[in-house]
């Protein structure tokens, strides 16, 4: 990542924080390229037996893309919000690719709760989740974004609260209702 791109990303993040919504859209391709590249590298590590952390991945992208001499916590939270959108795009695109893959043909089921201590893995179909999130966005945009940030980029409630300038209790309530709503929506399909 060149220095000029680093300045560009930092500038766009600041613009977005100050209310320029177009900055968000201009950030996405810049972040996409970096995250996609990092994700591929992380895959190889995962295969080599390492533990993967989305937050670590996004944090690494952040360190690459943002001028760290000018770093602020709010910048990081806002960067993660963009990254969440990008991660959603990458993961859902990938799931769609798998579905139409000549070898696969079946849906990608994402196993969750994979910690060794948790005996039963739950799973969520990312494509169905993406569709349900689009429906949720039409009813309650903030809740869909909360899910995006929490589920696709691993942001904490406090970080999400910072992005929306609301209390973390509000984010926690958003997250709770959104999960229930999405679950019901996906079950009804």
């Amino acid at each position: 990542m060149s220095t000029s791109s680093t300045h560009e990303v930092t500038k766009l993040l600041l613009a977005w924080r100050q209310g320029d919504e177009t900055a968000f859209d201009r950030l996405i391709p810049l972040v996409y390229r970096e995250l996609h590249h990092l994700a591929k590298r992380y895959m190889r590590r995962e295969r080599a037996g390492h533990t993967l952390q989305t937050t670590a991945l996004v944090n690494e992208a952040y360190l690459h893309l943002v001028d760290c001499g000018n770093v602020q916590w709010q910048n990081r939270a806002h960067f993660f919000a963009v990254a969440a959108r990008v991660m959603r795009q990458i993961l859902v695109d990938y799931a769609r690719g798998r579905r139409s893959d000549k070898r696969g043909g079946q849906e990608l089921h994402v196993a969750l709760d994979e910690a060794a201590e948790v005996p039963q893995a739950r799973s969520v179909d990312l494509i169905a989740l993406d569709d349900a999130l689009q429906s949720l966005a039409r009813i309650d945009l903030r809740k869909s974004r909360v899910v995006e940030m929490r589920f696709f980029a691993g942001l904490t409630l406090e970080e999400i609260a910072e992005v929306f300038k609301v209390s973390s209790r509000t984010v926690s309530r958003d997250w709770e209702l959104a999960q229930a709503w999405l679950y019901r929506e996906m079950s009804n399909r």
Binding site: A39, M43, R47, L52, L63, R76
Partner: protein, 218 residues
């Protein structure tokens, strides 16, 4: 849900959903019946969300990325893990060479003092994951010791925790073995360095007895 939802209706549902969760479970039905005041559709809506909430527990407890990684890994299963690791550590060195990623100050040069006790004399070797230095124990009359630390290329942010853990496990295992054929582990040191971006990085150093001087039979 096919019915068009007004913002007002949605706020109503949201309010009742949270209010119901704050009720004792045995009073919930009564509370909702009274709060919905004959609006059966509202009651059904809130109830179905409460049911979904219980079923949804844990479904999104962790985020989506790990599984994606496994899928990719399965797709590329033809190459071996060791190849992947080698490939990766090269990448890590070339891509993560910026100051905020690698703990440059962890590089030990002759004359560096570690933990106010071990004086680095010179580098004596480098293996796949570690670098080995000869040092002098200033508290024990300059006794020769060997200091091992993880190679820097493996010490980027994401891999660190895993390697550090393995590194320490090895040291603790060696520390329990007392056999003339096994180099004793004497100590583990840790150094921290703050990152400009916040947080810090840590590196473990293992101190081993120097094999040549460790005793008879070696």
């Amino acid at each position: 849900m096919s019915v068009v939802m007004t913002t007002e209706r949605w706020r109503q549902i949201e309010r009742l959903f949270h209010a119901a969760l704050n009720c004792d479970a045995n009073q919930r039905a009564e509370f909702l019946a009274s709060a919905c005041a004959g609006d059966d559709e509202l009651l059904r809506e809130v109830n179905s969300l409460l049911v979904a909430r219980d079923k949804a527990k844990g479904v999104m407890a962790e985020n989506a990325f790990q599984a994606y990684a496994r899928e990719i890994a399965a797709d590329n299963a033809e190459s071996t893990p060791s190849e992947a690791l080698r490939d990766d550590s090269q990448n890590a060195i070339s891509e993560l060479s910026t100051e905020q990623h690698l703990p440059g100050s962890f590089a030990l040069s002759p004359g560096t003092m570690l933990g106010e006790r071990y004086l680095i004399e010179r580098k004596i070797g480098r293996g796949g994951v570690g670098i080995v230095f000869l040092a002098r124990d200033k508290r024990l009359h300059n006794a020769a010791v060997v200091i091992k630390l993880l190679a820097e290329g493996l010490l980027d942010l994401e891999n660190r925790a895993w390697f550090e853990k393995k590194f320490r496990q090895e040291v603790y295992a060696l520390a329990r073995i007392d056999h003339p054929g096994v180099v004793r582990a004497l100590d583990v040191l840790e150094r921290r360095r703050p990152l400009r971006a916040g947080g810090d990085v840590r590196a473990s150093f293992a101190v081993h007895a120097h094999a040549d001087l460790a005793g008879p039979g070696l």
